[in-house]
C-alpha cells in the first residue's frame, strides 16, 4: 500500500489503479491528495531522499489506525528529482462513509508532513540544496544533545 518511484509520479495511472482496487469493496468514500511541485524561487525541481525502513513502519502504524476505523490508506512518493509542475506525493483514503475519510486524509497528510522520514532539496542551477527552512524536526528530536 506504500509505493516509491524514482522521479515524478504518473498520477492518472496510480489514481486509476487505486480506484479500481477499491471498486468492488463497497467503500462509499474515496479521497485522494496530490502534491505537486510549485514553481517558486527559481527552482527547476525538488529532490527527495527517503529512508524506507522507518517510512514503512510509520505507514504501517497509520494503516492499523485506519483499519480500526474501517478504512484503508494508500500512498505513493517520489525518490530523487521531480520537476516543477509534476507530482511527488499522493495519499488516499477509502472508507465506508465520508466522515472517516475526511478526518483521516487530514490527519494522515499532516502527520506525514511532520514525521515521515523524507528530506527535500531544491534544485537550482543544477545544485541540490537542503530545504532547511521548510523542514520540521521529528517529534522527539534533540535527544543526543540533551546531556
Amino acid at each position: 500500500m506504500l509505493e516509491l518511484y524514482p522521479g515524478e509520479l504518473n498520477v492518472d495511472k496510480i489514481f486509476s489503479r487505486w480506484r479500481k482496487w477499491g471498486e468492488d469493496k463497497n467503500f462509499g468514500a474515496f479521497i485522494t491528495f496530490v502534491g505537486t511541485v510549485r514553481e517558486e524561487d527559481g527552482i527547476e525541481a525538488l529532490s527527495f531522499d527517503v529512508y524506507e525502513p522507518i517510512l514503512r513502519r510509520w505507514f504501517e502504524q497509520w494503516q492499523q489506525r485506519a483499519k480500526s476505523r474501517g478504512a484503508v490508506l494508500r500512498m505513493a512518493h517520489s525518490k530523487g528529482n521531480v520537476p516543477i509542475h509534476t507530482s511527488s506525493y499522493m495519499a488516499a483514503v477509502f472508507s465506508p462513509k465520508r466522515r472517516v475519510a475526511l478526518d483521516l486524509i487530514e490527519e494522515f497528510v499532516e502527520d506525514f508532513k511532520a514525521n515521515a522520514p523524507i528530506w527535500k532539496y531544491d534544485i537550482k542551477n543544477g545544485e541540490r540544496i537542503y530545504a532547511k527552512d521548510r523542514s520540521h524536526p521529528i517529534e522527539g528530536s534533540g535527544l543526543l544533545d540533551s546531556i
Partner: protein, 73 residues
C-alpha cells in the same frame, strides 16, 4: 560495535563505535564538531525504531540512525 548512520542532508559516512547505551553514542558524537549543528535537531532510531530515551541499551550489531528535520510531499 554499533553502527551510526547519518540520514538525508547530514552527508556524513557511517561510524562504528563501542557503546552500551545511547548515552555513550551521544557523548561520542558531541565530540565531533561537524555534528554540532545537527544533534539538537535530529531524532534518533535504534534498529529503525524511533526512541526517546538516552538510557536505551545497545548491543553489538545495533544500528543507530540520526534523522534530521524532514519535509516530505
Amino acid at each position: 560495535m554499533v553502527r551510526v548512520e547519518f540520514l538525508g542532508p547530514i552527508g556524513k559516512e557511517p561510524m562504528e563505535m563501542e557503546a552500551r547505551s545511547l548515552k555513550d553514542v551521544a557523548k561520542r558524537l558531541q565530540e565531533d564538531p561537524t555534528l554540532k549543528q545537527w544533534l539538537g535537531q535530529c531524532a534518533v532510531a535504534v534498529n529503525d525504531q524511533i526512541v526517546k530515551s538516552l538510557d536505551t541499551p545497545l548491543k553489538s550489531g545495533d544500528k543507530v540512525s540520526l534523522l534530521p528535520p524532514v519535509c516530505g510531499g
